[in-house]
């Protein structure tokens, strides 16, 4: 489930690459949003690693 979420988000990044690239063309108040999405993806991957480690530990 988490794997799919990460994959779809990264695929979405490709689709919305122009929006990300031109973010600064718009109001600067939301500048942190793209970094936040990036951080969430990193956290998800960390979560996946932890859950897989638990799984292999119990397996």
């Amino acid at each position: 489930m988490l794997e799919r979420l990460v994959s779809f988000t990264v695929f979405g990044l490709f689709i919305f690459a122009p929006v990300v690239a031109n973010w600064w063309q718009f109001p600067l108040s939301d500048w942190y949003l793209q970094y936040f999405i990036w951080l969430v993806l990193i956290a998800l991957c960390y979560w996946i690693q932890l859950s897989e480690r638990d799984k292999s530990g119990h397996g």
Binding site: A17, P18, A21, N22, L28, W38, R53
Partner: protein, 1000 residues
């Protein structure tokens, strides 16, 4: 501000010396392995990706495209965020087949003699601009800091130092099996250095150039027009193109592959890098905007890509300026230090070695290493040459993008490797060439224009300058041409079986078991000899011994399956040393398979199974359920209590389950994969004869296994192989030895029972006339006064008594085993033994033998006291018969939790060992005629069994003190009865003591 040359040189020298020192200390083992192997080191070593483009040119990207600079970091991060799609399979295949470069991967997946060469050449050409830009970045920064000295001289000095480092620490080992830990640690240090440098400069920008975050916000609002006047909005296509090339760069650049897969093969490290590397790039990218804004605020005179240096210079802050210089130096040097050994290795294995063979001398390793070192120098020299001939005004990002678009051309082939089984070598090479042609025309020619114009050659017209429109079109056209050609040619041309096998290995799709063929070499020795022709004797011996050790195969191994594994392993090991192309060629030429006509194809069930085992964690849905079912059946077969083996059409043992191992004492690890003729006797004869017979069942087959005899039922069935349509043979062996022994015992018991019945009826029939004879003899004695007649009557009476005694023994034996004749009550062992001794004392024979009863007075068993008394009478009588005058017979007892153990030890002549096993058989006696019936011990045995006890005879007695090798010890074990002390206190009180000695 102008830094002194010696100042710059000293800083650079100190920094590079620190790198050398760390690498040296790591290689020497001075750094703990816990640190060297830490996943954080792996993640930081991947920071090699952040070279001069990340450190310098990303500010330029932000200056021109605003938030578009993030595409560089996002594209690289995306590769790791979705690592299960591409990186994980790439790492798996690289580790499994020892593939040390992308050229090796493509040569493995799309096997032709020239695949590796084409990839290596195009990679080398494509990556040269990236090498040139690193040299340019360092030389320009030094020139910015010291404008009095020629930047070309500085550049060549830098190149020399980097070449030295790459030779020393990047080419220490020939094989990728041996890791360059010093190099990895040095690159990790470089990643930390550049991150710390850029973070410090960013913080300086925020809190020194600006007055904090609020000040930045205010400045941004006030200078929004200034910012936007510089920015160019990227079109959708341009943005996606940039994202795509940065994505491809992070997976295809040689230095990323080298640090990610060659220097580290631990799969768990990739899981950490999946979030660790994007986090590293996130930190890096967060530093770019403050630096850009500070540069604009300070109106730094340098180009935007060198704002990092300009901020310190404009602020008159030497420390910040030096940080910018050291950070840039570390960013450029890290890429060069890794990319050059990686390219050198790729070029050597796929371009040089297919043309030039270094011979077969002992020094081949050293020669190959030296060739690699020479190539490192040549590649850096080529990069320097390109830098020298390029227009210095060509910005870093333009140069970088030229290389990145070149690397992008490998993406379709890579995707096909792991996602498309139908992709073939023709499509890959055609697509690659098509893509590179477009790349060359659209991106490389403008660079060449620079070169030609610098060389005053005007014949070549100036086509266009590199700009964002050109990049975008180059990406679209080259990738489009590549993809189209790849797909169309792959569809139109055929795929070889070798390619299909490689595709299966890459796709982790064990659709079917592969064929296994027999090698021409039939032993390890022959393999060594064959390889010696290509590699030389010493190298061949060393490599084969290494492979044997890794596979844990003995040097005398002859099993076809093991030799097949060895061949496979050798190819992988040689691949790590010489590259996939050469390894494949050497192994194919010198370790060939037998001709198809003479060799039998067999399904390689082991390889198939081991592949499925490897893929277990990757299977999902129906495949996982089917695999679970397979495991269940496999386990059932292995744990089946009946012995099962199967033999392939080529006579090789395919299955040998646990019960078969137990039966034959032959380990399955040693047997499976062997030709059936390698099985030890008597099993070889048994299996061979049975498999050749027309019958499908053989019952009660007697087999002598050396120390014992076994009876076996054999069954067989033929199983058709799915590929060859020939029959494998499955043989099931039932071990019925225990049943047979029980059957024999039952027959014996029935025979004894018949004898018992016969004895009872005989006793009954003879008893009546004997009674008559005894009566008549008694009458005769009473009615005559004749002394002679009286004596004869007495003799008749004696003889009839004797006959009666014999008959009584027969009757007792016939009745023994019939339960519940007498009630089972607590019996005091000591008392029963005493009674038995007293009975024996009545006999006038054998004077002078002493019975010593040392049985514990508190020891009880549950049983029939009369029968137990008979047991002791019989045993003590036998002991007395065997004893000499004045001997002692000792009766002792022991207690073992719930058991009462009674031992009767005499000092007599003992029992011959050959008779020990027979003494309890009925009618067996060693006494002379008329002295014994042979039923005494048989009765004893029956009574003890009736009491759930055991009896054993030992002769001679091992603990006999006089060492005379004589005496007999009879040990009786009976269930112990735990009585209540109050109830039996009176019984105990009757005893005078625990030990009784009676002399007869």
């Amino acid at each position: 501000m102008n830094f002194g040359l010696w100042q710059l040189f000293s800083i650079g020298f100190v920094y590079l010396s620190a790198l050398f020192g760390l690498a040296y200390a790591t290689d020497k083992g001075w750094i703990p392995q816990k640190v060297v192997q830490h996943p954080a080191v792996y993640v930081l070593s991947l920071g090699v990706f952040a070279g001069s483009i990340a450190f310098y040119a990303s500010v330029h990207l932000a200056y021109h495209y605003g938030g578009g600079y993030l595409l560089y970091f996002a594209g690289a991060s995306a590769v790791f965020l979705v690592s299960p799609l591409l990186l994980a399979p790439l790492k798996r295949i690289a580790k499994t087949h020892n593939l040390g470069s992308l050229a090796d991967v493509f040569a493995f997946r799309y096997p032709t003699p020239w695949t590796g060469g084409v990839v290596a050449t195009l990679m080398l050409i494509g990556v040269l601009p990236l090498i040139a830009l690193q040299i340019q970045a360092v030389s320009v920064t030094i020139h910015i800091l010291n404008q009095e000295f020629s930047q070309d001289i500085l550049a060549i000095t830098f190149c020399f130092l980097i070449t030295l480092f790459a030779m020393l620490f990047g080419a220490r080992h020939l094989s990728i099996r041996e890791k360059h830990e010093g190099l990895v640690m040095a690159i990790a240090l470089e990643s930390v250095t550049k991150l710390l440098a850029i973070a410090t400069i960013a913080l300086f920008s925020l809190y020194s150039v600006f007055g904090g975050m609020d000040d930045v916000s205010t400045w941004l609002v006030e200078n929004l027009d200034l910012l936007r006047s510089q920015e160019v909005a990227l079109t959708h296509g341009q943005a996606r193109s940039l994202l795509l090339i940065f994505f491809a760069a992070a997976i295809g650049l040689p230095h990323i592959y080298h640090m990610g897969f060659t220097e580290n093969s631990d799969a768990s490290a990739l899981a950490t890098a999946r979030w660790g590397f994007p986090l590293y790039l996130l930190y890096f990218s967060l530093c770019i905007p403050p630096i850009l804004w500070a540069g604009l605020k300070l109106n730094v005179p340098t180009e935007p890509e060198y704002f990092i240096l300009g901020i310190g210079m404009s602020s008159q802050n030497d420390f910040i300026t030096m940080l910018g210089f050291v950070g840039g130096l570390s960013a450029a040097s890290s890429i060069l230090i890794v990319i050059t050994p990686a390219l050198a290795s790729m070029t050597l294995n796929h371009v040089i070695l297919p043309i030039y063979r270094p011979g077969t001398s002992v020094r081949i390793y050293l020669r190959l290493l030296n060739m690699r070192r020479a190539l490192i120098a040549a590649i850096i020299l080529a990069g320097y040459g390109l830098y020298r001939t390029l227009d210095v005004n060509q910005n870093l990002i333009s140069l970088g993008i030229v290389s990145f678009v070149a690397v992008l051309q490998f993406l379709p082939g890579l995707a096909g490797t792991f996602l498309w089984r139908g992709a073939n070598r023709n499509g890959f090479i055609a697509g690659l060439i098509a893509g590179f042609l477009v790349w060359f025309v659209s991106l490389m020619l403008p660079l060449l224009n620079d070169i030609f114009s610098n060389m005053q050659i005007t014949a070549v017209p100036l086509l266009y300058d590199l700009n964002e429109t050109v990049w975008h079109k180059a990406v679209q056209l080259s990738l489009g041409a590549n993809l189209m050609t790849f797909v169309v040619v792959s569809y139109l041309t055929s795929t070889t079986p070798e390619e299909q096998k490689a595709a299966d290995a890459c796709l982790a799709a064990p659709n079917r078991p592969s064929h296994r063929r027999e090698l021409e070499a039939s032993s390890v020795h022959e393999i060594k000899q064959s390889l010696a022709m290509a590699l030389g004797r010493s190298v061949s011996d060393r490599e084969v011994d290494l492979a044997l050790a890794e596979l844990r195969i003995a040097v005398d191994e002859q099993r076809p399956y093991a030799l097949y594994l060895l061949r496979d392993k050798m190819e992988r090991n040689l691949s790590s040393m010489l590259g996939q192309t050469i390894a494949h060629r050497i192994i194919g030429s010198f370790l060939p398979y037998k001709d198809d006509s003479s060799s039998t194809f067999t399904e390689n069930v082991y390889e198939f199974e081991s592949r499925i085992e490897e893929y277990q964690t990757q299977l999902t849905g129906l495949a996982a359920e089917v695999d679970s079912l397979r495991r269940h059946h496999r386990q059932t077969l292995q744990e089946l209590p009946t012995a099962v083996c199967s033999i392939g059409v080529d006579g090789e043992v395919l299955t040998w389950n646990h019960a078969m191992t137990q039966l034959t004492k032959l380990e399955s690890d040693a047997i499976v994969g062997s030709p059936s003729k390698a099985i030890d006797e008597p099993w070889l004869s048994l299996l061979t004869e049975f498999s050749e017979q027309d019958v499908t069942h053989v019952l009660k087959k007697r087999v002598e296994t050396g120390d014992s005899t076994r009876w076996l039922n054999l069954h067989k069935a033929a199983i058709e192989e799915s590929i060859s349509r020939q029959d494998n043979l499955v043989i099931v062996i039932e071990d019925i030895t225990e049943n047979q022994v029980l059957e024999d015992k039952l027959l014996h018991s029935e025979r004894l029972a018949s004898i018992g019945q016969l004895a009872a009826s005989v006793a009954h029939e003879i008893g009546n006339p004997i009674t008559g004879i005894a009566c008549l003899a008694q009458n005769l004695k009473l009615e005559t006064d004749n002394a002679e007649m009286k004596e004869m009557s007495d003799q008749i009476l004696d003889q009839t008594e004797r006959i009666s005694a014999i008959l009584q023994s027969l009757v007792n034996f016939a009745h023994s085993g019939q339960h519940a004749i007498h009630p089972m009550l607590p019996v005091q062992i000591n008392q029963v033994v005493t009674e038995a001794i007293q009975l024996l004392a009545l006999s006038p024979k054998y004077k002078g033998i002493t019975f010593i009863n040392q049985c514990d007075a508190n020891l009880f068993t549950n049983g029939d006291s009369q029968k137990l008394c008979q047991v002791f009478v019989n045993l003590l009588n036998n002991a007395r018969d065997a004893s000499k005058p004045d001997d002692n017979i000792l009766i002792t007892s022991q207690v073992d939790s719930n058991k009462a153990i009674i031992e009767i030890v005499d000092e007599g002549h003992g029992i011959p060992s050959s008779y020990i096993g027979k003494v309890f058989e009925p009618f067996f006696t060693t006494k002379g005629p008329g002295q014994g019936t042979g039923l005494g011990l048989a009765i004893v045995y029956s009574i003890i069994e009736e009491h759930d006890g055991e009896i054993q005879v030992e002769s001679p007695v091992s603990d006999n003190n006089d060492q005379s090798n004589s005496g007999t010890k009879v040990t009786i074990v009976l269930p112990r009865y735990h009585h209540r002390t109050d109830l039996y206190a009176d019984l105990n009180a009757r005893e005078s003591g625990p030990f009784i000695s009676i002399k007869t």
